[in-house]
């Protein structure tokens, strides 16, 4: 136990845990709707959109020095990744809304385009340029290296997401249960779907910095999927998804420290273990 307190005494570990717990909170609340609406691929699509945005952001910084004058934190590619992810989320929602194409098709198109743009942008950056991060960090996360800037962005996003969801939860859940029934009761289901996609873009863009683009989608889906297997109500699913996300984050971060393993992988694998347990012990 002394060892545990010793670990928590490190400032970088405190930041990592704070960031991870906030990501778990946002992912659990949003993931409940993502899973119930069969949009699990959305997290993947938006995370890769964030990758494309980070690539464009990094290229902009290098080529034009656009944000260079503002100091270190302004150089972070998140400031391009976030609007890029929001634009992608809007595009996916728009294609779903206005065409007969299914969600996975719409997401698949934007996913591919975003990755292509990201790879193209990074390929244009000379290898000797120091971006302050490497592409592997973006893909697989670097939660132990999370800085105050990123933690602040995550905290602001968490306030926005939790407040917004608290305000619309009943209507969003109603529209998730039955879009048509909700609309007959005056719920603006279409607007709520756009809102859900935009909130997902915020969560994914700011969280991808912490857990990595590849693993972000799993963060959004696995706790909510496990919670769904243990719950008989949507509100119960949300609460359990947050609890699972937070607990596995805590366990994953500490385990990665002792096992000297990549932290993002450790968190997701812990979540996967809970998911397997949920399947075995699910409520019938």
């Amino acid at each position: 136990m002394d060892g545990l307190f010793e670990i928590l005494g490190f400032a970088f570990m405190q930041r990592a845990l704070a960031a991870g717990l906030l990501v778990a909170l946002m992912s659990g609340l949003l993931g409940t709707f993502v899973v119930q609406r069969r949009l699990s691929f959305l997290g993947d699509g938006l995370a890769h959109a964030a990758f494309g945005g980070m690539g464009i952001g990094a290229l902009a910084v290098v080529t034009f020095g656009v944000l260079d004058a503002g100091g270190g934190w302004l150089r972070h590619p998140l400031w391009v990744a976030l609007p890029f992810a929001l634009l992608t989320a809007f595009g996916i929602a728009y294609v779903r809304d206005r065409t007969d194409l299914s969600s996975d098709t719409a997401i698949g198109v934007f996913f591919a385009v975003a990755v292509a743009l990201g790879v193209l942008a990074f390929s244009r950056i000379p290898p000797d340029v120091n971006l302050g991060f490497n592409v592997m960090d973006l893909l697989f996360g670097s939660i132990l290296a999370v800085r105050t800037t990123e933690l602040t962005a995550i905290a602001v996003a968490a306030v926005v997401v939790v407040t917004t969801l608290g305000f619309v939860w009943g209507r969003l859940a109603y529209a998730t249960f039955d879009d048509e029934l909700a609309r007959t009761d005056g719920v603006r289901a279409r607007r709520l779907e756009y809102l859900l996609f935009l909130l997902a873009a915020v969560v994914v863009a700011v969280s991808a910095v912490v857990v990595g683009i590849v693993l972000m989608a799993a963060y959004l889906v696995i706790p909510a999927a496990a919670a769904r297997l243990w719950s008989r109500s949507l509100a119960g699913t949300s609460v359990r998804a947050v609890a699972i996300g937070m607990t596995t984050t805590l366990v994953g971060v500490i385990a990665s420290f002792y096992l000297d393993a990549p932290t993002g992988s450790a968190i997701i694998l812990t979540q996967a273990a809970v998911f397997v347990a949920a399947i075995v012990l699910r409520r019938r």
Binding site: G170, Y174, F177, T184, V187, R228, R232
Partner: protein, 269 residues
């Protein structure tokens, strides 16, 4: 239930030399459909449909598959905006008076994986949004609605575990819990057995008698339309008949709408 349909509004004193100080206002139709046309792409789904449904009637909307029956209900609910014409509920534009409508959708469109109990479903009808938690007063009101439809034993059962007939009762309790003036049902008997179907009509008739409410129901069951409805609307893209069941469910009218006469044995009077 045909006997419960109210008489037409009375006329004012015709012989009076001067207009009376108070006149009987014209009765606002429960459902007013005026020249409604709906097109999906190239397909004309509803063509110039018009009718008024007076309050207190039990309307059966019949017609073959793809006739536009469900589309008509969605126009009435404000879910679909027609290219031409309009619909009104008790004088309010479609979609503007949700509190006066109880809607029972087709059960086949419902997502059975959604984690919810029957009592949560009924409370959603009270709140007009999904409950995070069910308050005690809401639960009591929902239970009363479930008792009314004979489904009190289903209250805490997950929707995913309910049979078609049980689910139908839960949705009916949800629709009736706020005591609507107009109950709209879209093929409510689909996927339920004969007894459950019989119970459904019995429940609707009892509710109608108690509240003086209006019921409009899409159905493929011509016999049910014959025996339970006070008005029948025969639809196949356009209106092929509207009136008393015995007048509208005739061979000629049905032949025109359905294109064959295989219905005869089902609607014999």
């Amino acid at each position: 239930m045909k006997g419960s349909a109210p008489a037409a509004a009375g006329a004012g004193p015709a012989a009076a030399p001067f207009p009376a100080a108070t006149t009987v206002p014209p009765r606002v139709p429960a459902l007013h459909v005026h020249d409604v046309s709906v097109r999906f792409g190239d397909a004309l789904v509803l063509d110039d449909v018009r009718f008024d449904l007076e309050p207190g009637h039990f309307l059966a909307i019949v017609g073959p598959n793809g006739a536009g029956k469900s589309t008509l209900v969605k126009v009435a609910l404000g879910l679909i905006t027609p290219q031409r014409g309009h619909a009104a509920i008790f004088g309010h534009d479609a979609g503007d008076a949700p509190e006066r409508i109880g809607y029972v959708p087709q059960l086949k469109t419902f997502d059975r994986t959604f984690p919810a109990t029957a009592v949560e479903l009924v409370v959603s009808g009270i709140r007009r949004q999904w409950p995070v938690r069910v308050a005690q007063a809401e639960r009591a009101r929902a239970m009363a609605a479930l008792v009314d439809v004979g489904a009190e034993g289903l209250a805490d059962r997950p929707l995913a575990r309910l049979s078609g007939g049980e689910l139908q009762r839960a949705f009916l309790a949800r629709a009736l819990v706020r005591e609507p003036d107009l109950v709209l049902l879209d093929e409510p008997a689909t996927g339920v057995d004969f007894l459950a179907e019989h119970d459904l009509y019995d429940l609707l008739e009892r509710y109608q008698a108690r509240r003086g409410a209006t019921v409009a129901m899409v159905t493929h069951d011509l016999a049910a339309a014959r025996f339970h409805a006070s008005r029948v609307l025969v639809l196949n893209r356009r209106l092929h008949g509207y009136g008393l069941p015995e007048d509208v469910l005739c061979d000629e009218c049905l032949h025109e709408a359905f294109g064959h006469v295989g219905h005869r044995h089902a609607v014999a009077f």
